[in-house]
Amino acid sequence: MSSSSTTTTTTRLLMLKASDGVTFEVEEAVATKLGAINNMVEEEGSEDLICLPNVNGKFLGMVLEWCKKHANNNTNSDKGNDEVNKWWDKEFVMDLDQNTLYHLLMAADYLSGTELVDLLTEKVASMIRGKKVEEIRETFKIKSDFLPGQEEEIRKKNSWAFE
């Protein structure tokens, strides 16, 4: 029942090209769930090919899968759909391995997919909140750069947080 103008906007297709040359053909309404793409579309006007040199095909595909789900559900949103979306999001992040999760978060952040970033940060937060300092350093390849004594001082003053 949509008017002709909405039909034309929802069916416009964009080509997104990932760093490894993989291209995705997606509806504009799906791609513009990403703030960065939305800006580019408004900026470029009639350009249909968008190159994304910082995201590889695997992760761009996953980001777009999320966008597709959420763009579809936005058109006829009601409370039931909200529940479905939540369930879908939960499944989406449930079995992601650490490496995929972090790359996906970086891709989502780079593309300004705010809602997806929120979903992924929540997942990362729940994964790392019980971790030890040493585990964090190992996971994110961070070297301690404290001067001798500084580390002990912070540990001593916050000993309760290490119990």
């Binding site: 703030g35 960065a36 800006n39 408004e42 900026e43 006007g45 910082n54 972090y102 790359h103 978060l105 970086m106 952040d109 780079y110 300004s112 970033v117 940060t121 929540e122 990362v124 937060a125 790392i128 909140r129 019980g130 971790k131 030890k132 300092v133 964090i136 350093r137 994110f140 390849k141 961070i142 070297k143 301690s144 750069d145 404290f146 580390e151 912070i154 540990r155 003053k157 916050n158 309760w160 947080a161 290490f162 119990e163």
Partner: protein, 430 residues
């Protein structure tokens, strides 16, 4: 020409957005704000928002802005996962984890102790982390839902200058009261050990008065302003007065509204805030609701058979809810009523999941995390999923004796500063 300019305008808006995100190391909010307001691109945005079509700007200036864009864009592209986690994830971690993660490296230590992160944290971190509880005449005590993530340095609140009774909680802040003849109110954050003694109210808040703490973190609530709303029954008079402390003005005010409801003369206990409205359950099967903004009050009936039982009024999915156990029925169950009319939402049977050898009173707690209710079964803390209807033991022996008359408050492990800090903890912000 005109087209070219609008194009640039959009590109610059992106810079505005990335500015804050890509600042590294010691991110200084004030500085970056200044930069944003001084830079031509921010002016452009303002002008655009004001409805000016094409701001007067020289082409050369636009080129300069482009080089700025590429600088920031490149920066964002070069962000490693370590930067992304620091920038985006740390604000969603509980206070205990953050205190521990100060030790990861200097950069994390800087960011975690930065007042802007503290502000973001009070806004972003809302997870129910545990319960403060206190038996009559006992000391306060903290039950963590995940001891590796959620915790406080001083669970008995011994950092306060005197012994206190816990009264109310709201998004990381606790309201406590001293035991003197003329008791004083304290507002504290048990995670940072910051506290503030409130000045004396106008009325005498006797043992029958009840309180509710209102702290609603928001992006704009930089000073972490809060309100303490007190309902004061007047002895020998069928009336309740309201007196409200506001940290913004650091003063008390007596509401013009008086409540003359026969069902609201005695309260079961302290209340809580939901969407700006304070709620207290009365001893006559009703709920008193009071909005401190327009100073209007209203009454709601509690579900039937709740007068003498261990039902609890709390919040679930952002709505008012009433959790009522039916222990002595043929099939023990928990009923959950919700919404503004407190209609029956869930009936949770508690049969097979409860091992036979566990006995004791079933008591729902004012602590709901998404679909999960916290309940006490004797001295055992259990989580109960409303959709699956299953009881899962979280921790046994959380109380030394029965739960009777023990007060429980839900607690969020947040770094929220106590507004207008009178006493700053030297431990945390060293």
């Amino acid at each position: 020409m005109m087209i070219a300019e609008t194009k640039d305008l959009k590109a610059m808006d992106i810079v505005d957005d990335t500015l804050g995100d890509s600042e590294e190391d010691t991110f200084d909010f004030e500085d970056s704000q200044q930069e944003m307001t001084c830079s031509p691109c921010a002016n452009l945005k303002v002008k655009e928002d004001c409805g000016m079509l094409y701001p007067a700007i020289e082409v050369g200036q636009i080129l300069v802005e482009y080089s700025k864009i590429s600088k920031f864009k490149k920066h964002k592209e070069e962000m490693t996962i370590h930067d992304v986690v620091k920038e985006l994830v740390l604000r969603f971690l509980p206070a205990k984890t953050l205190c521990r993660f100060r030790l990861v490296c200097k950069e994390w230590n800087h960011w975690i102790t930065n007042p802007f992160l503290v502000h973001l944290h009070s806004f972003c971190f809302r997870d129910i982390s545990g319960l403060f509880c206190q038996a009559p005449k006992g000391k306060p005590h903290f039950i963590s839902l995940n001891p590796r993530a959620y915790g406080v340095p001083s669970p008995t609140l011994s950092f306060l200058p005197e012994n206190v009774t816990i009264r109310a909680a709201s998004n990381g802040l606790l309201c406590c009261q001293s035991h003197n003849i003329d008791p004083a109110y304290y507002i504290c954050n048990p995670a940072t050990k910051e506290w503030k003694l409130l000045r004396k109210p106008t009325y005498y808040h006797g043992p029958k008065s009840v309180v509710a703490l209102n702290f609603e973190p928001s992006m704009l609530n930089f000073k972490a302003n809060f309100e303490l709303i007190c309902a004061i029954p007047i002895p020998d008079n069928p009336v309740v007065y309201f007196e409200i402390y506001s940290s913004r003005s650091d003063s008390w005010r007596v509401a013009d509204t008086e409540c003359w409801e026969p069902k609201a003369l005695e309260f079961k206990g302290d209340g809580f805030l939901l969407k700006g409205v304070a709620f207290w359950e009365t001893c006559s099967g009703a709920v008193l609701a009071f909005d401190s903004t327009d100073e209007q009050y209203g009454m709601l009936p509690t579900p039937p058979s709740s007068e003498s039982s261990l039902g609890v009024l709390t919040e679930m999915h952002g709505e008012l809810c009433y959790i009522l156990p039916h222990e002595k029925a043929d099939e023990p169950r928990i009923d959950v009523y919700g919404g503004w009319n407190l209609s029956l939402k869930y009936k949770i049977p508690l049969d097979s999941e409860v091992p036979d050898h566990i006995t004791g009173e079933l008591r729902p707690l004012p602590c709901v995390d998404g679909d999960v209710l916290m309940v006490l079964l004797g001295t055992r803390l259990c989580a109960c999923n409303v959709k699956e209807g299953k009881l899962k033991t979280i921790k046994s022996n959380v109380l030394s004796s029965g739960a009777e008359n023990v007060k429980f408050l839900p607690y969020v492990n947040s770094l929220t500063p106590v507004g207008h800090q009178y006493v700053e903890s030297k431990d945390f912000y060293h």
